[in-house]
């Protein structure tokens, strides 16, 4: 660790991993309720569990991004973080807000109260006061990282990272606009949800991947930057109007069917670009970095993101297809592999890279960490296939044959059992990962004195 203030990242990462555990356990519970619907139906109903699962996902991913920014910025801009105190204050606000959401929802406090009560829009369920807290925390964060960047060396990686983080915060402002008209409500809702994961988050992803590639493979910065520009340009070009793929059936004008289909199909390109980038860098790279686990996560991220977001996204993005698959288990299959591949793996990659450095050690627990990768990636892939089958059957029975929703659900129950099984594997992998990161032991993959080409 070259800069003292990089330590901030450590706390962010630890909190993020705690929420990660909560998130996957919440998913497992939701998956269990699917096959055994009366479980906890009074105490903790499915809709609340589902909310906790998705919201804790978003919050821990954001904490991870912010931690990554606090880790990367000092190194890239050759400058300590502007104000460590503010960084901790910001974290405290976010933790308080998260607890606020949990307590409000679990005990259903302040129902109907505009400021204190539940809001109930998927992913944006936070009560108003928490949303305001998030904005305050985001302002503190942006102030802190922007000041750091302005004082120091400006690199393409930090520029793109900051652009992504600014965009993330600005787009969140649409969460405050909640028109009564349901079509308009959805229209603005996607400004946050879609333009996040298929817009500004991709910039964050590309820049963090670029940083990792720079460190792990030792490729020239200029090469990395060229790729970065191309990935970012194609991501924004396709992603912005790609929002149209959510405007097919919500009451928006019909031209969105064509705009959405064409532009969102092109969204595959940046994800392909990121995968190509990662592999070409490793192939060209001359450095044999000892942190094999971080490299595995980085490559896994680029690959699974391409499949989850790119391939599974394209699968249902043309409006002729989406007409049938909209809101079926196909969507859930895509949602899981895309989020896991792109943003979960990205975070786990930077955690794997940064934690040993933050704790002043050589990479540790590499085998455990890599085992956790295969458990999680395998479990998630299996879950994706299972849900894709379930969704295909569901689409046929429900959308083509016209059977009733609940009748169809009964017929695809077997898939939900398998999803639960896959979920168990993922949860085991996640817990193993957290253990491997938090409880350092000596063992490292020994690269003997003459092993410069070990993993090639």
């Amino acid at each position: 660790m070259k800069y003292e203030t990089q330590k901030i990242a450590l706390v962010y990462f630890v909190v993020a991993m705690a929420l990660f555990a909560v998130q996957v356990l919440g998913g497992l519970l939701a998956g269990w309720i699917y096959v055994s619907p009366n479980t906890l139906s009074e105490l903790l109903p499915f809709n609340i569990v589902r909310m906790l699962h998705t919201n804790s996902l978003i919050v821990w991913l954001l904490l991870g991004f912010m931690g990554a920014a606090y880790f990367i910025l000092p190194e890239e801009s050759e400058q300590e973080i502007h104000s460590p105190t503010l960084a901790y204050v910001q974290l405290a606000i976010l933790v308080l807000g998260t607890l606020g959401v949990v307590v409000t929802y679990v005990f259903n406090l302040f129902e109907g109260n505009i400021f204190l009560g539940k809001e109930g829009r998927e992913f944006l369920e936070q009560p108003m006061w928490v949303k305001i807290g998030i904005v305050v925390a985001a302002l503190i964060f942006l102030y802190n990282v922007t000041m750091t960047s302005l004082k120091g060396r400006k690199t393409t990686i930090t520029n793109i990272l900051l652009l992504g983080l600014w965009g993330l915060a600005l787009l969140f402002l649409f969460a405050f606009y909640n028109p009564a008209n349901l079509s308009l409500d959805k229209q603005y809702w996607w400004y946050v949800v879609h333009l996040w994961v298929e817009g500004v988050w991709e910039l964050i992803m590309a820049s963090i991947l670029a940083f990792l590639m720079l460190k792990l493979t030792g490729v020239d910065r200029e090469v990395v930057e060229k790729w970065l520009y191309i990935i970012v340009a194609t991501a924004l070009f396709s992603g912005i109007l790609g929002t149209g793929h959510h405007y097919y059936w919500i009451g928006t004008p019909p031209y969105w069917q064509w705009i959405g289909s064409i532009f969102s199909s092109l969204e595959v390109i940046p994800f392909f670009g990121m995968m190509a980038f990662a592999f070409v860098m490793v192939w060209k790279g001359r450095r044999d970095h000892p942190n094999k686990a971080a490299l595995l996560w980085a490559l896994g991220c680029a690959t699974l993101a391409f499949f989850g977001a790119g391939v599974w996204g394209f699968l249902h993005t043309l409006h002729g297809v989406n007409y049938y698959t909209h809101g079926t288990q196909i969507t859930a299959a895509h949602g899981h592999l895309a989020f896991f591949g792109a943003y979960v793996s990205l975070n786990l990659a930077i955690f794997s890279y940064a934690m040993p450095i933050l704790r002043g050690r050589d990479p540790y627990n590499q085998v455990l960490n890599m085992a956790s990768f295969w458990l999680m990636a395998g479990g998630m892939t299996f879950m994706t296939f299972v849900l894709t089958f379930a969704g295909t059957v569901q689409t046929h029975l429900q959308r083509v044959q016209g059977d009733y929703f609940m009748d169809v659900q009964d017929q695809i129950a077997v898939f939900y059992w398998m999803r639960f099984g896959a979920g168990v594997i993922v949860v085991l992998g996640a817990l193993l990962f957290i253990y491997a990161i938090l409880v350092p032991r000596r063992e490292i993959i020994t690269s003997g004195p003459d092993s410069t080409v070990a993993a090639e």
């Binding site: 060396r153 400006k154 690199t155 393409t156 520029n159 910065r221 200029e222 930057e225 060229k226 520009y229 191309i230 340009a233 194609t234 070009f237 396709s238 004008p253 019909p254 031209y255 064509w258 705009i259 064409i262 532009f263 199909s265 092109l266």
Partner: protein, 174 residues
Amino acid sequence: MSTATKGLPGEVLMWVLIFSELAVFGAGLAIFMALRLLDPVGFAEAQLALLPGLAGINTILLITSGFFAAMAVQSPHLARPWLAAAALLGVLFLVIKAYEFQHKAALGISFETHDFFMFYYLLTGFHAAHVVAGIGILVIVGWTKHPAHIETGAQFWHMVDLVWVLLFPVVYLL
């Protein structure tokens, strides 16, 4: 250490943009032609409402304008007048385009009248938006007068030009 400042990616990014644009317009035209195969009569009938003469004039305007932009690259000392002339023809193009749209609207033709018009509005509308952007770019690069900028601006303008040359026969004539 100044890796971030040298080698600004103007050109690379412009090429990425151009390829992306061509992909979008190409996809739009391909779908348009595929739909026409399914409904040749309906498309032919709808096409009668267009004003191909005006569109022909617009084609000539844009090609000439592209030539002016190329001249601006060729002769840097006269770059500004050439760029101004190119931009001016772009404005004329838009005036005619606006008249054309207004003529359709007066006939009560909208996006939903027929698939033909859906694509007519989408393709030529998107293209017109690019003409607006292109004029803005020509003005800006004329302002900075930097030869590399002028070349990049002209690249964009040629792309706008090229897209029209593809649209014009497919939408108005075939």
